[in-house]
């Protein structure tokens, strides 16, 4: 059952439409990510839900109540800003207590809840510090605690991890998911980082130029990207130029195995195959042969660029401890038909 619903939500700045006809229903307790490149309208969408940007068109419904025109201080949503927006002149405890104070909650109760939430985000020893005395990761957790302590029906996160360095970001992704699981708050997170969106969300909403183009579980999004844009944006993807002929995709005179597709005869298409779905073998034992032009060691896996008659193909192999195929070696490539999707070349950019 939908808890938060956006209906044909749009926002225009002058004659520029930043968000166009967004429809989305989020279930209670769900963790949804808005994923898209910078400038595609993610922040604007989130701020419309938060009440900080007035929609040009459309409605927002929360738990059956129309909140489209409600003031932000009446919506009671928890928001974590990209810059964290902590109150610099208040201690961590006062920052967190602010929302409770606004709700006129008594001092004893306030202190108890602040203590509890600071424990949850592992910041109990820092209660009396000022934000400037904290590291980036700690500030981010203060911002989350401050938003969660008011027990909001929905938690909105705007690129909460983008200001952190790579290692801390990964840690905080797990942390964020852990906190969200233990509190059970419905959460919408904005991000331009596909790995982040895939790793922590229940569902991912892909946005392109103000529109939503796909809403799916991370696994489905990865395996079945709806548009060429998504396939290139989410994870690495080989796109082999081919022509649809006699019910098969043909490239460089070779028939490429793929899923069935309903395309008209002779139309240009892409065969989309994930690098990890391709199997390398001895020369002559696959669909076609190729030469390894370069390879990269990425810790848990290897990445190979293979020159083939159908173009350069990227192949990845898990690192199993042994030295893999050398650069310059000839290899054969093959994949299962169900691992390759055929997308008409004209379908979206």
């Amino acid at each position: 059952m939908a808890f938060l619903t956006l209906q044909s939500l749009s926002k225009a700045f002058g004659d520029f439409t930043a968000v166009r006809d967004v429809d989305l229903s989020v279930a209670k307790g769900e963790f949804v990510s808005l994923l898209g490149p910078s400038g595609c309208g993610k922040t604007t969408t989130l701020q419309m839900i938060a009440g900080l940007v007035e929609p040009t068109k459309g409605t927002i419904t929360l738990d059956g109540r129309d909140i489209t025109h409600e003031k932000p201080n009446r919506r009671g949503l928890g928001i974590v800003f990209q810059s964290y927006a902590l109150f610099p002149h208040m201690t961590v405890a006062d920052n967190v207590a602010f929302g409770l104070e606004m709700r006129k909650i008594g001092k004893a109760e306030r202190e108890r809840r602040v203590k509890e939430i600071l424990g949850l985000v592992h910041l109990a020893p820092f209660a009396e510090r000022y934000p400037r005395q904290l590291s980036g990761g700690q500030r981010q957790r203060v911002a989350i605690a401050r938003a969660l302590v008011i027990e909001p029906p929905v938690l909105l996160l705007d690129e909460p991890l983008s200001n952190l360095d790579a290692k801390l970001r990964e840690e905080m992704q797990f942390e964020l998911r852990r906190i969200q699981r233990s509190v059970g708050t419905t959460t919408i997170m904005v991000t331009h980082d596909q790995a982040e969106a895939l790793s922590i969300s229940d569902r991912v909403v892909v946005m392109e130029q103000g529109r939503m183009t796909q809403i799916d579980a991370p696994y489905r999004l990865y395996e079945r990207p709806a548009t060429a844009f998504i396939s290139s944006f989410v994870g690495k993807m080989n796109r082999i130029d081919a022509v649809w002929r006699g019910g098969r995709a043909e490239a460089a005179g070779l028939a490429l195995p793929s899923e069935a597709a309903s395309l008209s005869e002779g139309v240009a298409a892409h065969v989309a195959v994930r690098p990890e779905k391709i199997v390398l073998g001895a020369p002559g034992q696959g669909l076609f042969d190729g030469t390894v032009s370069s390879r990269f060691f990425l810790g848990s896996y290897w990445l190979f660029n293979v020159e083939t008659p159908v173009g350069t193909v990227i192949v990845s192999l898990p690192n199993q401890g042994a030295e893999p195929v050398a650069e310059g070696a000839t290899v054969s490539l093959r994949w299962q038909p169900e691992s390759a999707a055929v997308i008409a070349a004209g379908a979206a950019a």
Binding site: N73, F81, A85, M102, A147, I150
Partner: protein, 283 residues
Amino acid sequence: MKSRALTPWLLVSPATLLFLGLVVLPLILTVILSFHVYDHSTGIKDGFTVAHYVRVLTDDYYLTIFWRTLRLAALTTLICVLIGAPEAYVLSRMGDPWRSIFLLVIIGPLLVSVVVRAFGWSMLLGSTGLLNQTLRALGLDPVRLLYTETAIVIALVHVMLPFMVIPVWTALQKLDPAVEAAAWSLGASRFTALRRVVLPQVSLGMLSGSLIVFGLSASAFAIPGLLGGRRLKMAATLVYDEYMSELNWPLGAAIAIIVLAANLVIMLGYNRLVETRARRALG
């Protein structure tokens, strides 16, 4: 190595010389002068006396003027805070062409001499000035504003406002707009967000603005001179009179030193009071 140790001293020496020559030296001379004996028939004589200080600090005439100076400077500062801080806030939230235009409108008056502006006010507020002509045209009684404390305060506020707006505006520039939005999202009304979140963060800007405005108002000369008339003297006009009309330079010097000391004590005390509180939170 020795020359390197000298470099910083050489670098600051022009400024130091300027400061010594233009501030410290005249100040020392003024202090010395204030302890000289003065005789109405023969003028300044050698000999040490504290009589001028005693006279200034015990004579009601002088005390009234000091009290007026303090009162008007404090009132000007208060009004500048009340007008200037919201003005700076509105300015900081304006869109681009308007912000530059209004900033220019606020700073623009600084380009016109204080004397010219004081004359402008006296033409506006005079008994046949624009204000009273308008009142008469509307069939209302004219008001006497020129040569009153009200006129002095109005003109002082006009002159001092940029010195309040600019530091507050600078403090607001450093403020993340999302911080205010965060307060709203936590349930604060616009007013509460301003009071609890924005105001504390610009308090240092308001403090430095207040210090400048108070200091300049307490030592203002042209405005009380032109808009206060002969009767309503303030500290600076009093010193001027002692020097130029009474020719009692030692007494004038004593007044100047007392005003300087009082100004310093008030400003440093105020600074300590507010700043220690603000600094602790803002770092």
